[in-house]
C-alpha cells in the first residue's frame, strides 16, 4: 500500500512537471510579437556583370559556395508581420514568396515559406530561423541564371 502511494505521488509529480514544462514551452512559442522580415532577391548567373555593389557584403560567403560570376540585386522587400499574418514578396518569373510567421520557439522564429509560380504553389517549407539570422533559399531557374532570396528576421 505504501509503495502504491509513493507511485501515485511520483506520477502526480511527473505529470505536474510535464504540464509545467509544456506550459513554459507553449508560452515561449505563443509569445505574440512582431516579426521584422526582409527578403533580398538576387539573380545569380554565369554572366559578365560581376557582383552588384549593393549586395557585395551580403553575398561574400555565398561566392565561395556557389560558382556564379554574376550576382544582380532584383529587389528588396521588408515586412512587419504578426503571427499568422502572411506577407508577400515578388520574385522573378511570375513567382511570389509568401511568408507567414507561426510563432517563436526559444530564440528562433518559426516561419512558413511558400513559393508560388503563376498562382500555383511550387515549394513550401517550415523553418526555425534564429533571431537576427538569415536563411538563403535558391534554385529556381530564371533567364539563364538562378533566383536566390535571402530572408532575414528579427523579433
Amino acid at each position: 500500500m505504501k509503495k502504491f502511494k509513493i507511485k501515485i505521488v511520483l506520477t502526480i509529480g511527473k505529470t505536474l512537471l510535464l504540464l509545467a514544462s509544456f506550459s513554459i514551452m507553449m508560452t515561449a512559442i505563443s509569445q505574440a510579437s512582431q516579426f521584422d522580415i526582409s527578403v533580398t532577391t538576387i539573380l545569380a548567373s554565369h554572366g559578365k556583370n560581376g557582383v552588384d555593389s549593393r549586395i557585395g557584403r551580403q553575398i561574400k560567403e555565398l561566392q565561395a559556395a556557389f560558382r556564379y560570376s554574376s550576382y544582380r540585386l532584383v529587389n528588396k522587400t521588408h515586412k512587419r508581420l504578426v503571427p499568422g499574418q502572411t506577407g508577400k514578396a515578388p520574385l522573378p518569373g511570375g513567382r511570389v514568396l509568401a511568408i507567414t510567421p507561426l510563432g517563436v520557439a526559444g530564440n528562433r522564429a518559426k516561419l512558413k515559406l511558400a513559393v508560388f509560380k503563376n498562382g500555383q504553389p511550387t515549394f513550401q517549407t517550415i523553418i526555425q530561423l534564429l533571431n537576427r539570422g538569415r536563411i538563403i533559399v535558391g534554385g529556381p531557374q530564371h533567364s539563364g541564371g538562378v533566383i536566390i532570396f535571402i530572408i532575414s528576421n528579427s523579433f
Binding site: 554565369h46 560558382r67 556564379y68 534554385g139 539563364g144 538562378v146
Partner: protein, 206 residues
C-alpha cells in the same frame, strides 16, 4: 643485365623504408609529416577523384576528406597493404560515396560549357585524323564536353578502374588490390571502358 633490376629493387626498398618512416611519424601525430604526405599524394589523389567525379571542386573536397580520414585513422593502417594503395582505396570509396550522395540530390553545379554549347550539334573529330591530336582537341570545348559526357556515361566502378590504369599507371594486380576485385574483372572493365569511349568518339553516339 642484372644491374637495372638490382637498382629497381634497391629503389623499392628505399621507398618502402621512406614510407615506413613517414607512417611512423604520422602515427606520432607529426604535423610536418602530414604536410609532406599531402604534398606527395595530393595531385595523384585529386586526379583519381576527378577521373571518377568529373568535378574539380568536388574532387578537392573529396581529397581533403581523404587526408582528414588518414589523419584520424593512421593508427589503424596496416602497412602490409602499402600507403599508396590505402590512399587510392579511400579516395575511390569516398568518390563513389560522394557520387551516390549527389545522385540523390541534383546537379546544382552549373557548367558554363553546357550553356555555351547547348542547342548545337557537335560532330566529334575522327580518331586518327590530324584534328584528333590530344593537345589540339582539349582546347576545343565541344570535344571536351563530348568526351566528358561519354566518360560520365561509363559505370562508376569502370571509371575507377580506367582512371587508376590510364592516369595513375597502376598494374592490373594493383588495381585489383585497391578495389578489392579480381584481376579478370579489372581487365574486362578496362576493355569495355575503352570500347565504349572509342566507339562513342568515333561515331558520336553513346
Amino acid at each position: 643485365m642484372n644491374f637495372p633490376s638490382i637498382t629497381v629493387s634497391n629503389n623499392v626498398k628505399a621507398n618502402k623504408h621512406a614510407e615506413h618512416l613517414l607512417v611512423e611519424r604520422l602515427k606520432h601525430g607529426n604535423e610536418d609529416a602530414f604536410v609532406s604526405l599531402i604534398r606527395q599524394y595530393r595531385a595523384d589523389l585529386v586526379n583519381v577523384a576527378y577521373g571518377i567525379t568529373s568535378d574539380r571542386e568536388e574532387s578537392q573536397d573529396i581529397v581533403q576528406e581523404v587526408f582528414i580520414k588518414v589523419y584520424r585513422n593512421i593508427h589503424s593502417f596496416n602497412e602490409k597493404s602499402g600507403l599508396r594503395t590505402w590512399l587510392y582505396r579511400i579516395t575511390v570509396n569516398q568518390s563513389l560515396n560522394q557520387l551516390r550522395k549527389w545522385k540523390r540530390r541534383f546537379n546544382w553545379q552549373h557548367r558554363s560549357l553546357t550553356e555555351e554549347t547547348s542547342g548545337e550539334t557537335i560532330n566529334p573529330p575522327e580518331l586518327g585524323s590530324e584534328k584528333f591530336s590530344p593537345s589540339n582537341l582539349y582546347e576545343e570545348k565541344e570535344f571536351a564536353l563530348r568526351f566528358e559526357e561519354q566518360l560520365k556515361a561509363l559505370p562508376q566502378k569502370t571509371r575507377a578502374v580506367f582512371v587508376l590504369r590510364e592516369n595513375q599507371g597502376l598494374s592490373y594486380d594493383e588495381i585489383a588490390r585497391v578495389l578489392n576485385i579480381k584481376r579478370g574483372t579489372v581487365s574486362s572493365r578496362l576493355y569495355h571502358a575503352r570500347l565504349k569511349l572509342i566507339k562513342a568518339l568515333l561515331k558520336g553516339e553513346s
